[in-house]
């Protein structure tokens, strides 16, 4: 049954991808990208990778779509006619595809418990992590403790992305809402948004602090919280949103998140452990792990929230400027 579902989903994925290549209307392309991400998320669910599916749905289908729409608002929705032939790129793509297929020839059978990936380091994560780290969700144990340095790096990647967008687009100045923007005339949207935004924020907090027990954690929570503010900005206008969350504050928050994470690592040094060693943070190692993971997940959430929102602010303020002109 799982195979059948996979087959259908992968078929739809291929159709979506082909459609994206041949469509000239970029607005439709962005919508299809959203569908592509949702299909990928479904495949991940089918592979029992719910944490990945959650991230894909939140980032790929949610935020990425909003940001791409923001770009379209600046550039226009029609693709420019491409005059030169694409023979070389086509050749590169075919060779790469052929290489990938060739690479599958010696791949271990899918889902076999005897596979190297299931035999070497994974058993310890599965068997020992409840005692060593003390969390029911072993994905969080691996991400936030065993491989916490990778996750610190990924948080820095998000921070670096925000720096990049800030350097190109800048942040809006906090304004007193003089210009009419947003969708204020749409009564239904306004009422629904007012109802739903608090719920989204509560859900973000739930995802943030429930990541130890189920799918979720700082990355997803940060994205969801940012989505709430983005919804507010879309319906009530950017000037009002910048009064709720000031652009200056975002710069501070984006930096603070990385610092909170890194400081947790440094704290390990002062208690006599290695960098990012949580065992030494409390007298009981498992309690120490728990403290460490909650703090670093909070840091991730703060940086992701601030980074995504400042990227959105950057796009939105450019679009508003373009509209005024």
């Amino acid at each position: 049954m799982a195979e059948l579902i996979d087959l259908v989903l992968l078929g739809m994925l291929a159709i979506t991808a082909l459609r994206i290549i041949f469509l000239k209307d970029l607005f439709a392309v962005v919508m299809l990208f959203g569908i592509y991400s949702f299909l990928s998320a479904l495949i991940f669910v089918n592979l029992d990778a719910v944490d990945v599916a959650f991230t894909e749905a939140a980032v790929g289908a949610g935020i990425a779509t909003v940001l791409m729409l923001g770009t379209l608002a600046l550039t226009g929705r029609k693709e420019k006619a491409n005059s030169h032939t694409a023979l070389l790129p086509l050749l590169v793509v075919i060779v790469t595809g052929a290489a990938l297929i060739y690479g599958t020839l010696d791949m271990p059978p899918f889902g076999d418990p005897e596979n190297p990936a299931n035999q070497h380091v994974a058993p310890r994560y599965i068997e020992e992590s409840p005692q060593e780290v003390g969390l029911p969700n072993m994905v969080t144990s691996v991400l936030a403790s065993y491989r916490a340095f990778d996750t610190l790096g990924e948080t820095a990647v998000v921070f670096a992305a925000a720096i990049g967008v800030l350097s190109l687009l800048g942040l809006p100045k906090q304004s007193q809402a003089t210009i009419e923007s947003g969708l204020k005339s749409h009564l239904v949207l306004r009422v629904v948004a007012k109802l739903i935004i608090p719920l989204i924020l509560v859900f973000a907090l739930y995802v943030q602090f429930h990541g130890d027990y189920g799918p979720g954690g700082g990355f997803q929570a940060g994205v969801i919280a940012a989505a709430a503010i983005i919804l507010y900005a879309l319906v009530f206008g950017l000037p009002l949103a910048t009064q709720v969350i000031q652009p200056k504050l975002l710069k501070i928050l984006a930096s603070m998140g990385v610092l909170i994470y890194a400081a947790t690592g440094v704290a390990g040094l002062f208690f006599g452990g290695n960098f990012l060693d949580y065992n030494v943070l409390a007298s009981d190692p498992v309690a120490g792990q728990h403290i460490g993971i909650i703090v670093i997940e909070f840091g991730i959430g703060v940086t992701v929230f601030a980074a995504i929102l400042s990227i959105f602010y950057g796009f939105a303020s450019q679009a508003e400027r373009a509209n005024i002109q």
């Binding site: 820095a156 350097s167 960098f275």
Partner: protein
């Protein structure tokens, strides 16, 4: 107390420094802070280099989780050497950047510049120090994103197109590396480099692992701008702020060369990659074509920055050439050239940046008669240029010497001959600039605004120039480190402590 944490500090310091820099918000303060952080990382790297020369390898378990379950920093002579180059050049460039970016970057973006620079430094240090293949990819992402930002910060609008092109190519490269690492993981169940090496050695020949190797080598080749995958590099280095070009030319692509060395020698094994897969011939041919093609293209450029960028691609050819000889001597020459090239290209790009600072142009027309007007800058350009050519008593001569010796050791007369003819092309492109600077009259002799560059730009430039001369005469430190590094890399992975 902190000595045992040294392997992780060159990464953690700039990684913490970057967000702090962002919070400082004042240009002067951010500059001072970034320079101090970078300088401190340099100090630690030197200590690491001396320690590894003495004791071999330093391993550091992140989070206290022993490898392969946790992530390991593994510093040996090879990465400590490149780490010292990267942190040292970063520090000098930061000193230089203060005045240079005043002219080239919008005032309210200065903090972003220092933040991105520290992020880039953290990423490069992470790539170098880590003993974990996936962790390497994470730091590659940090350094790449920061690099695109640094290039795009230039007020020249063409920098945006250049940065975008760089971003597209760089992302393809990074994705290829990730695909390769994924395939390795599928067959071995581990990400730790030594563990990977031990488990890959158990397979005879495996199509999934071979495909993984191919993806990694192509991805890294894009990152290190190996001919013909170098087309992103010249526009990026031409339009980037001068301080950024000086930093990247000596570090970013060279760290990618290190990554290639690491994947070939430590993980897959030189015997396998070169003798069974025949990669040595492919790399050798590409390296030689890179040297000649790009040196030749450099001779016809009118923009001096573009010229130096093409020269960089040619110099990368020399490094790959050394590696593809598959001898300890060849690898040593390649590694030595990473060190020496950072000294000369750093100085050259700094000199070009100083000319840009005073004349506002990097075109060769701006160099007419500069020998008299900016004597110190042009003297620096001359000495570093002689080093690129490979004139005796400069660092460039030492790396060429070891490269030719390594080729002759294998009776590769033709290759030795080609290395020497490649230097002739360097004489042409460096000579063109020297000719107009010293033997042509300035276009406008009455213009008195063009004078010697500020002291804060001259000091780091001349430190590099003097280093070029010092390491051209007293080779004991650079050669012994490169020699120890190549011998270290050449021993089979089993002797590196892979048995767990």
């Amino acid at each position: 107390m902190f000595a045992q944490h040294f392997p992780v500090l060159p990464i953690v310091l700039p990684l913490i420094g970057a967000p702090v820099c962002m919070l400082l918000a004042r240009s002067q303060l951010a500059w001072l802070f970034a320079t101090l952080i970078s300088g401190f990382s340099f100090f630690i790297s030197i200590v690491l280099l001396l320690t590894t020369l003495d004791q071999g390898v330093l391993s550091y378990a992140l989070g206290g989780w022993e490898p392969p379950w946790g992530i390991e920093m593994r510093v040996d002579v090879a990465n400590a050497l490149v780490l010292s180059v990267v942190t040292g050049l970063s520090t000098l460039v930061l000193v230089y950047a203060k005045q240079s970016i005043d002219k080239e970057i919008d005032r309210n973006q200065h903090t972003l510049f220092y933040t991105a620079h520290l992020l880039c430094l953290a990423g490069l240090s992470g790539i170098l120090s880590t003993g974990d293949a996936f962790n390497l990819f994470v730091f590659l992402e940090i350094s790449s994103l920061a690099t695109y930002t640094l290039v795009s910060l230039a007020s020249d609008r063409r920098a945006l197109t250049a940065a975008f092109r760089y971003l597209v190519m760089g992302t393809i490269g990074a994705t290829f590396i990730l695909i390769g690492v994924g395939m390795m993981y599928m067959k071995t169940g581990t990400l730790n480099m030594l563990d990977l090496a031990a488990r890959i050695a158990e397979y005879d020949s495996n199509r999934t692992l071979n495909t993984g190797l191919a993806f990694i080598l192509i991805g890294v080749s894009i990152k290190l701008a190996l001919f013909p995958l170098h087309m992103w590099l010249p526009p990026a280095y031409t339009h980037a702020p001068s301080a950024v070009s000086a930093f990247l030319a000596g570090t970013a692509t060279k760290v990618a060369v290190y990554v290639m060395v690491r994947f070939i020698f430590t993980i897959y094994g030189a015997e396998y990659v070169f003798h069974e897969m025949g990669m040595d011939v492919i790399l050798l041919v590409l390296a030689i074509v890179a040297i000649f093609n790009c040196s030749f293209v450099a001779t016809v450029q009118s923009n001096v920055k573009t010229m130096l960028a093409y020269s960089s691609v040619a110099q990368i050819g020399y490094m790959i050439l050394g590696i593809s000889l598959v001898t300890s001597a060849g690898l040593m020459a390649g590694l030595l050239h990473i060190f020496n090239h950072a000294l000369m290209k750093g100085a050259l790009f700094m000199a070009v940046g100083a000319v840009l600072f005073r004349t506002g142009s990097a075109d060769i027309k701006a160099y007419y008669g500069l020998g008299k007007r900016m004597p110190l800058t042009m003297a620096a350009f001359t000495i570093a240029g002689l080093s690129i050519i490979g004139v005796p008593l400069t660092a460039g001569f030492v790396s060429k010497w070891y490269l030719v010796t390594a080729a002759l050791e294998q009776q590769h007369w033709l290759i030795a001959f080609l290395i020497l003819t490649g230097s002739l092309l360097a004489i042409v492109y460096i000579g063109r600039v020297l000719e107009v600077a010293y033997f042509k009259e300035p276009a406008d002799p009455t213009d008195t605004t063009i004078k010697e560059a500020p002291v804060l730009m001259l000091i780091p430039m001349w430190i590099l120039v003097l280093a070029n001369i010092y390491f051209g005469i007293d080779t004991s430190l650079s050669v012994s480190a490169a020699d120890a590094a190549s011998k270290w890399l050449f021993q089979p992975a089993a002797d590196l402590g892979a048995v767990r």
